[in-house]
Symmetry: C2
Amino acid sequence: MTETDPSQIKGFNRARERAARALLEDYVEMIADLAAEFGEARITEIAARLGVAHPTATKAVARLKREGLAVSRPYRGVFLTEAGEALAEQVRARHRTVVALLRAVGVPEDLAELDAEGIEHHVSTRTLKAFEAFLASQGGEKG
Amino acid sequence: MTETDPSQIKGFNRARERAARALLEDYVEMIADLAAEFGEARITEIAARLGVAHPTATKAVARLKREGLAVSRPYRGVFLTEAGEALAEQVRARHRTVVALLRAVGVPEDLAELDAEGIEHHVSTRTLKAFEAFLASQGGEKG
DNA sequence: TGCGAAATGTAGCCTTGGCTACAAACTTCG
DNA sequence: CGAAGTTTGTAGCCAAGGCTACATTTCGCA
Ligand SMILES: [Mn+2]
Ligand SMILES: [Mn+2]
Ligand SMILES: [Mn+2]
Ligand SMILES: [Mn+2]
């Protein structure tokens, strides 16, 4: 009896892994936003928009660099590598889809945006596909 | 120009706060499960089901005790306080609703269960209400 | 041009949440 | 009843992600 359910463990482990990646994803997305707006992402601006102190942003960017997602030189802006750009695009698309799904099931826009910031990091690729299919069916039905 | 959007900061801050609570919530839910099944929750069993080493579970339980959610004596089982029970019930209900919503928009059952383990912690009360309303409307429509 | 303000870097601290290794207590059973 | 096995506790390590305080560099402008 009482065999520990492996799929339950899997769920917890996955949630932990995704939580660990969440920060990286938000930084990458933010850097892409700033690059689009100003041509470069400055540490101070990244920190301000994420609501953290600047040394916190510096540490996170160091981690991005270590993982090959960004590059930077001292006292200069931060730039995404190709891998970083690709991740940013994926993250941004997922964010949009999650917000759209929340809206589609009746969550008010402001709240959808707030909750999506956390939810998005736990939505797997296949679940995202399901969201897209659902949205397509809804869109077609009602216009 | 370029005023930092306060609602965006709010979203990131909220996601961070919720991520910090996620672990506590999973422990409380697990302890409630084990209490229902065995009458008490042992450290070894908690650790096994969450997929962590036992000292990790011990530390987390210490935090639960510090926050008034659980009690325990050395070499004995862990028990929830009234506050802990209340949180467990709330967490369990939210978990069910999140899974149901994912299923309702077309996510396969196994995947819904896996993704819900992470998503649930970022669903606010009002968003949960919206999910329930959506599910009720779906259920009524099709039976 | 150069000085003051702003941005960035760096040092060092804290908490959380992982881990391994080992010590101590409890339980089971011969 | 006591030895062996199981469970729990404890010590100590690590990385991530927060922070403040202070040093240094860059930038804007008088
Ligand atoms: Mn996010
Ligand atoms: Mn996002
Ligand atoms: Mn969970
Ligand atoms: Mn859960």
